[in-house]
Symmetry: C2
Subunit: 243 residues, 2 copies
């Protein structure tokens, strides 16, 4: 049994998210279908984490096991031949047995992009926000996220989860020509966590919420104090790191 690690990119626009579901086109399904065509094996893929419908990935990681004898590069170039234009494998590596893209990940980096300019070109790749945003205030508020925290205020309740504690390594905003990006690295995330954080931070950026009050929202551990959930199409899974 061999273990393969894939690093891949996808445009989430036409996907109902990562995870296979009874109906809807998903990234996992498209990959497993491509692997079936390539290898004639029915292979189950494990992603580093699920992404919602509309969320993009620049560096998602997935792992699977195979009994086949194909050279590892076939899982990049060969597999790409069986994939649609909106998913492409960037790298395929053979790993020690037991590698698991989800369980072994130690740091995941996401980016959320906000556009100041409304345009139909690229509308599926950033969130157009009409009001002016003060990035320095959003950065001040974001700084409270770094470290160990209970993120109950910033996620959707999930019956499969015991606690909402994670460790955030780094948070920073970058300015682009036509907008801003929120960059966050953490051990793990909960449902809609980054989208709720961004939906709250824009209220800090417009002065509807004071930056210092953002800490109170975090401490409240109650979703009802945070802002609206930002739309999925501004969000990118950028990188997943392993020991």
């Amino acid at each position: 049994m061999r273990t393969i690690k894939l690093t891949l990119e996808y445009d989430g626009t036409q996907f109902s998210g990562w995870q296979i579901q009874p109906s809807g086109r998903t990234v996992q399904h498209v990959l497993e279908n491509g692997l079936l065509q390539l290898t004639n094996e029915s292979i189950r893929i494990m992603g580093s984490g699920r992404t919602d419908a509309g969320v993009h990935a620049l560096g998602q990681v997935a792992s699977f096991q195979t009994n086949g004898k194909l050279p590892v590069k076939a899982f990049k170039d060969g597999l790409n031949g069986f994939l649609p234009q909106d998913v492409q494998i960037l790298k395929a590596e053979e790993m020690d047995h037991g590698f698991n893209a989800r369980k072994d990940a130690i740091r995941r980096t996401y980016r959320y992009c906000i556009s100041k300019k409304q345009s139909v070109i690229g509308r599926q790749y950033s969130w157009y926000y009409r009001q002016a945003l003060d990035v320095s205030k959003m950065q001040s508020a974001s700084d409270y996220l770094v470290g160990d925290h209970d993120f109950s205020s910033f996620c959707k309740a999930d019956p499969e989860i015991d606690d909402y504690i994670s460790h955030v390594f780094d948070v920073h905003w970058t300015e682009q020509e036509d907008g801003f990006c929120f960059n966050i690295s953490a051990i793990r995330y909960f449902r809609h966590m980054i989208r709720v954080i961004v939906g709250t931070l824009v209220q800090v950026g417009t002065d509807a919420i004071k930056a210092e009050f953002f800490k109170n929202i975090l401490d409240a551990k109650d979703r009802k104090f945070a802002g609206d959930t930002a739309p999925p199409h501004g969000l990118y899974l950028v990188q997943v790191e392993y020991p």
Copy 2:
């Protein structure tokens, strides 16, 4: 009878081009359908020019006539409410009777974007070109296009056209972070003209064709001397000017 001029933006990805046709989703059809819903009138729209399937517009111009009494701003904000996400009106103006978006245009500017980096994100907005390109050579060759010329070498034959003569005002390449854009302003264009020019210029950029030989191709007035037609999705109609 009032004459209205619209300036509009569209993402060509999901369109079978500008012009209404028996089957396929077209920009003209979507606009006329939106106008029907807004005004209850069956209105025929005239575009400044047709764009092919997959070609985008940042500033297409169209004109139409109406008997209605709606304020002119309804043809921007009101009409946008009846349009899909991939077409939006940027400006609506009331014109003197007789204004015609196609016949009155005196200068049309297009841009063709080439990407050096392959990515699924934004793949529908530029042409990924694998080989390294020397922009200074492409600029030297492009300079031959400026002025009055017969562009027979750089277009698809069109039975509706008497001659292939146009005047090119300006041609210049710009460099972006991940690629290059070819910018061209001319009185008029013929079928696939910019795409054939770009498909030939990349061969100059890779040294497959000498920049000086590009002039011979232009002078030959024969399509078979030029290069392949570049794909539509790198092309943008940027601006249309009127006296």
